[in-house]
Point group: C2
Chain length 372, copies 2
């Protein structure tokens, strides 16, 4: 990316993740500006004109990045994507009793567990494993066109951060009558996106948006107004939409940071440029895995591999631990895989520079030469 | 306070509110430290040892400030206090069907509206108004000792931020069988507190804790384990307590800031010193009101006035608007009263310096001399 790398240490964390250097610099500059643009970004009242300007700007910038159709609303909601796992059925079930979910891995299964508190959940497709590794079920196999219209929505997880598996964008089903709801937490803003194919998209901020504690929800306006009576006001999509996400005090500082990140993405070529850079980074590490003669193995089948979270294993636990320790010593941080999955995971969000992929690939080759 | 005032502009916002100058300086210094303490406070993974250290330190510092009894748990939850309005009944109702609430003003009434989604709410006491202004109902009038044990808890709002009314600390009812639940958002850490008198205390961060988007919950451990089956995991007090508030990604940066604020409070004399300074600030403005021969009027009766949010009115709307405009021109920011209440409101949270009260009092006298 255009950001210069201030040092040769890199953050491969799956989230909270790297934030663009220039955004951190601007946030730093705005943290203590009493007397110039008083008060600071962290202290500005949410009901003030100053915050309204920031929130409106964030709204406009995100709309522009996505070429957001007019019939979609943007909500900036407090908390993470897991909160939405329960809020989706509360807000979208309406008079329906059934939901359809795609079970693609760790995060999809947690979403399913939460949805089952509120409705009957039909699993319309699941990931499977063979000698090639984990395969995600192709969208055309979900049977969206033949789903009972009594199903309130069909939910899937665009990118399985823990498993390192990712769906292609959903092109096949724009004509389905059932709204497609997508957890896009770890792939949002990582590549161009046709929002019109979705009923609702949600994404926790701590990957490509900003600091943890904020979730962006994009919702088609015909899906508003279905919230169950027990939905608390602050969790009600319709009320938050009417209140421009200010039904209560929003996480103001996080919204301010997101505004800066949206600007940074636009300044650096928009979503197409993000996609190109992200693909280069992950492809480089996948190539290193492929050329390792089996020393490194990716547990995901080639057609289902994530362009964001590259997961791989080493021959045994001892080597895995040594890899993590030596990587840290070499400035390559937070490469440990998800606690339920194990192995190594390198996450390539927008703010992770190309040099990080180069450094990791070189380290992998060196490590194999020494320990393989 | 010990913080020097970098300039003569002051933030009287009711929230998000002023943050201690030294905390902003340290946050600024920690925002961009790649290469020294990598990664920055905003990018640190929540599952890392680095974040665990920060969260444990925040926990220990808050426990020390409050002399927290061993049988209380601290939860750092995402979102604001309004989210808790619905989460309280979800987590505490258990097999009960009834709740008791004190209706003391704007925020209490919003809490009551949310609680009524889940249970029958008995209003055990209400604020009333006479020639002196608004009176809060004394705790001894709530009838806590004679409440049916089938009531899951009795809820009150310690300080009504919008109305400018505050209860004394609840000393009379420590022997009640019914758990007292307190929304302490705008008075938490503003004065010493005997936690053992409460079943649960909650406080949104954006007053005396840190940036918006975080809520601290203190809960007596015998109240855990009552959550309704429909409670989403991330909103379940028991599960979050077991997970040390990391059942999902917490608002990591906000927790890091809170940790710095807790340290700042301790370094500046703890809660007793906060109380002394806060009382001096608000008393100064109340005295200016009293000495204005009725030009300024406080709509709250003397015994119920808030030591945090000083509300007052001017003779008419034109003077009120002019007061706000001229105050801004004089560096006195965000004095407009709550949108539903009107008038003027000056909030004296911990981080608002003594000089702010001096400057506001002087401005009030000057304004009256010119316009009265």
């Amino acid at each position: 990316m255009a950001d210069s790398c201030l040092s040769d240490v890199f953050n491969f964390s799956a989230g909270p993740a790297a934030i663009p250097e220039t955004v951190l610099q601007r946030a730093r500059d705005e943290l203590l500006t009493r007397g110039t643009s008083f008060p600071s970004l962290m202290e500005v009242p949410f009901s003030s004109a100053a915050f309204r300007t920031i929130a409106d700007q964030a709204h406009q910038r995100l709309s522009a990045l996505l070429a957001l159709p007019d019939n979609y609303r943007i909500l900036f909601m407090a908390g993470g994507a897991m909160a939405q796992f329960g809020l989706l059925p509360l807000n979208l079930l309406g008079s329906s009793k059934r939901l359809a979910y795609v079970d693609s891995g760790y995060w999809a299964s947690r979403a399913i567990t939460e949805a089952r508190r509120f409705a009957t959940v039909d699993i319309v497709a699941s990931a499977w494993r063979d000698d090639e590794g984990v395969h995600l079920p192709a969208p055309k196999s979900w049977g969206l066109e033949t789903l009972d219209r009594g199903v309130a929505y069909c939910h899937y997880t665009a990118n399985e951060t823990a498993d390192g598996a990712q769906f292609p964008e959903l092109h096949e089903h724009s004509s389905s009558d059932v709204a497609v709801v997508c957890d896009m937490t770890s792939s949002f803003l990582a590549r161009p996106l046709d929002v019109s194919r979705y009923g609702l998209i949600y994404a926790g901020a701590q990957k490509n948006i900003g600091p943890a504690g904020l979730t962006v929800v994009l919702v088609r306006d015909d899906l508003l107004g279905r919230s169950a009576p027990q939905t608390p006001d602050v969790f009600n999509y319709g009320l938050q939409s009417e209140a421009r996400s200010c039904r209560n005090t929003p996480p103001t500082f996080a919204v301010g940071l997101a505004n800066l990140v949206f600007e940074w993405i636009a300044d650096n070529g928009g979503l197409s440029a993000m996609a190109r850079h992200n693909d280069e980074k992950s492809a480089m590490v996948y190539r290193t895995i492929a050329e390792s003669c089996g020393f490194y193995r990716c547990p995901v089948a080639p057609g289902s591999r994530s362009g964001i979270n590259v997961c791989f294993t080493l021959p045994d636990e001892v080597l895995t631990e040594r890899f993590i320790v030596e990587a840290e010593e070499n400035g390559l941080h937070h490469l440990r895989g998800h606690s339920r999955i194990g192995g190594i995971r390198a996450s390539f969000y927008n703010a992770v520079p190309h040099a990080a992929a180069v450094a990791l690939s070189q380290f992998m080759k060196d490590f194999q030469a020494r320990r393989g």
